[in-house]
């Protein structure tokens, strides 16, 4: 069964702290994504990565950075957390859509971050 695992389901951090959100997938997918979800704003793409050490900005990259040192792991970093980064963070992965169904996107369980 496909699996995307996020390291923490719930986190509480203080303003100014450095925050790491980790995501691991076991499907040998090339592409990995970080989204945030807020009431009334839907899912918004923060960053994505299409290969090891490769990254692209999504729609709302400000205040975030990412790291992809290994194919299976994609980390989201909040260098200095702020209260407006309180949100639900969702990691996802997908393969390269060469054969049918390989472009299907799979999500982790989500990480709910509160910044005080």
């Amino acid at each position: 069964d496909v699996k995307v695992t996020q390291s923490s389901r719930y986190l509480v951090k203080r303003t100014g702290e450095k925050v790491f959100l980790e995501c691991v997938q076991d499907m040998d997918h090339e592409n990995m994504f970080w989204y945030r979800q807020d009431p009334g704003l839907g899912l918004r793409l923060i960053y994505f990565s299409y290969d090891v050490k490769m990254k692209e900005k999504g729609d709302i990259p400000e205040g975030y950075s990412v790291s992809r040192e290994k194919k299976e792991r994609f980390s989201l970093i909040l260098e200095s957390a702020s209260t407006n980064q309180t949100s639900m963070y969702l990691c996802a992965s997908t393969g390269t859509a060469i054969t049918p169904n390989t472009g299907e996107l799979f999500f982790g369980e989500g990480s709910r971050l509160t910044v005080l």
Partner: protein, 111 residues
């Protein structure tokens, strides 16, 4: 970029009722998925359906790519069907698997 519109935004049903959720998109796509977000926030894959019709138990989905819409049918709804249903599409020519999401339909099923 591509626009994705879901309707209705909210839907309230009694257990046992049937419903149809709609997803309209503004350009050609090579991927369309339906997800259910459970009360804990996890997005569960329902269908990967860029075209055609699929069925899985009480749920079925149809995508008419040439007319740029998809429908999700829920029959004999149960309280566990409650949650948010998202449609997401990949525009033709988009690289790296990026999907664009609709705003979702909030479904509430009462016992």
């Amino acid at each position: 970029g591509i626009q994705v519109e879901q309707s209705p935004p909210d839907l309230i049903l009694q257990e046992g009722a049937n419903s149809t959720l709609r997803c309209n998109f503004s350009d050609s796509v090579n991927n369309l998925q339906w997800f259910h977000q459970n009360p804990w926030g996890q997005l569960i894959n329902l269908f990967y359906i860029p075209s055609g019709t699929k069925q899985n138990g009480r749920l079925s989905a149809t995508t008419v790519a040439t007319e740029r819409y998809s429908l999700l049918y829920i029959s004999s709804s149960q309280t566990t069907d409650s949650g948010v249903y998202f449609c997401a599409v990949r525009q033709l020519g988009t690289s790296y698997g990026k999907l664009t999401f609709g705003q979702g339909t909030i479904l509430t099923v009462h016992p």
